[in-house]
């Protein structure tokens, strides 16, 4: 590990030999960090890849906000049933022990803090845990929020999975979100292609890097980074 100052920073793992991660590798890292037995919601888009990397014996149960616990893998061939889809409207399957419920009950489950973990994409995450992932803020954009605010607000641990830098090179881990917020102070962990960040008490700790050192990360981000 790298130390930038006098503080003892034991425990940050720098994988200088691999990285940046592709989205499948990121999904694997996210899956690894989800505690066994958790009830988990995977946001639409990249986060759905996480399900491919969950250990079937981990007892993780997937929730889909359109009204189901115990969601199985994406349906293929004969399995496809248009009455059984995930939040991305993609046909999925049902695992033993599943249950169905209506939308108000499903969002009550989310809002009430019963889900352990959700994994969401993001435009920006701030050091205070603020999340921006629903609106680019451009004046002519059509606002569309779906269940993003419900997940950000209701789920106990909000994980974000995103590239660390936008296509134009700007960092998505920021001091303060400039895009419209989805939820305030909600994000606890950020999985990126370059590093995994833990957010707590307004501070960001790097727990793991991929193909980059903590020192170099510090040089590329405006956000103060602790190592551990």
């Amino acid at each position: 590990m790298t130390s930038s100052g006098g503080a003892t920073e034991v425990g940050t793992i720098e994988h200088l030999d691999r990285g940046p991660l592709d989205r499948h590798e990121m999904a694997r890292i996210v899956a690894r960090d989800i505690p066994a037995g958790s009830y988990v919601n995977l946001g639409i888009g990249q986060p759905t890849l996480v399900s491919d990397h969950l250990d079937p014996d981990s007892g993780v149960v997937l929730h889909t906000e359109n009204g189901m616990l115990g969601m199985g893998p994406v349906a293929v061939g004969e399995e496809i049933d248009l009455d059984l889809t995930n939040a991305g409207k993609i046909p999925v399957t049902e695992l033993p022990g599943a249950s169905y419920f209506h939308h108000a009950d499903s969002f009550a489950m989310m809002r009430g803090g019963h889900l352990d973990v959700c994994v969401l994409g993001a435009f920006q995450v701030a050091v205070n845990g603020d999340l921006a992932n629903w609106h680019t803020g451009t004046p002519d954009a059509i606002p569309a929020v779906g269940g993003a605010m419900d997940l950000a607000t209701g789920v106990r641990d909000v994980y974000v999975m995103m590239t660390l830098f936008a296509k134009d090179g700007t960092a998505k881990l920021v001091t303060r979100c400039t895009y419209p917020l989805t939820g305030l102070g909600c994000v606890s962990r950020v999985f990126t292609d370059h590093a995994v960040f833990l957010i707590a008490d307004g501070q960001v700790t790097v727990s793991e890097t991929f193909g980059i050192s903590v020192e170099e990360l510090r040089s590329r981000l405006a956000v103060p980074l602790l190592a551990r």
Partner: protein, 221 residues
């Protein structure tokens, strides 16, 4: 509760300016035959409550394209194929109220449950709470959201008995059970109608008290 002959009869009597709750989340639970009948009725100036704002050129998109809708309340209007809505919205021909999905479901539930309004943490501190009353309860910021009720609800269920008791299939259940409770008239399209007593009372999801009209529309395939 009446079992009616066709979807047109199921939506008969809806007035211009009505608020219509339309179930479905993507294709699952979308009452396509009832939406088409609503369009054929020629009604105008509708406020539509749905999770989305139409896809392609059928169903809700066709209803909007036909000029029947003046306002939509939904959580997620922007989709890859929501171009009908996109055009109408950008031209100012249709108003939009965006509501977080869970607040939308809860507002409809409140409408059916006689709850005037509720404090929800979802959306607090975001631009979707702008102009809304907020309150800190137990140290947490909440937004006051009001109930939504409809003049008409269009719901798709799997099976009804002749008292209007309904069961649904898998995630097609979605908004149906709450929307059925929140409208003056609830019209339901089902795959089949069974005799009274054929549904186990333990598994009824929507009791017949909430259902006014049922029409059988066989799902292709």
């Amino acid at each position: 509760m009446r079992v009616v002959a066709d979807p047109d009869e199921a939506v008969a009597g809806v007035q211009d300016g009505a608020t219509v709750l339309i179930g479905g989340f993507g294709p699952a639970g979308q009452p396509v035959a009832l939406i088409d009948a609503l369009r054929r009725s020629g009604v105008s100036q509708l406020t539509v409550v749905n999770n989305n704002a139409g896809n392609g050129e059928t169903g809700l998109a066709a209803l909007m394209a036909g000029g029947h809708v003046k306002r939509i309340i939904c959580s997620f209007p922007r989709q890859s194929d929501s171009y009908v809505f996109d055009g109408l919205y950008r031209s100012g021909a249709i108003d939009l109220e965006v509501v977080p999905q869970g607040n939308l479901a809860e507002r409809i539930r409140a409408g059916g449950a006689g709850i005037g309004g509720f404090f929800t943490p979802t959306g607090a501190g975001t631009m979707l709470a702008e102009g809304k009353e907020t309150r800190t309860i137990d140290g947490r910021d909440h937004v006051l959201e009001y109930a939504i009720s409809g003049d008409l609800a269009l719901v798709k269920a799997f099976r009804a008995d002749r008292m209007g008791n309904l069961v649904y299939r898998k995630t097609a259940r979605n908004f149906g059970p709450v929307m059925a409770t929140a409208a003056t008239v609830t019209a339901v399209q089902v795959d089949e109608v069974v005799e009274v007593g054929a549904l186990d009372p333990e598994v009824v999801v929507t009791p017949g008290i909430y259902v006014d009209r049922v029409v059988v529309v066989r799902t292709p395939g």
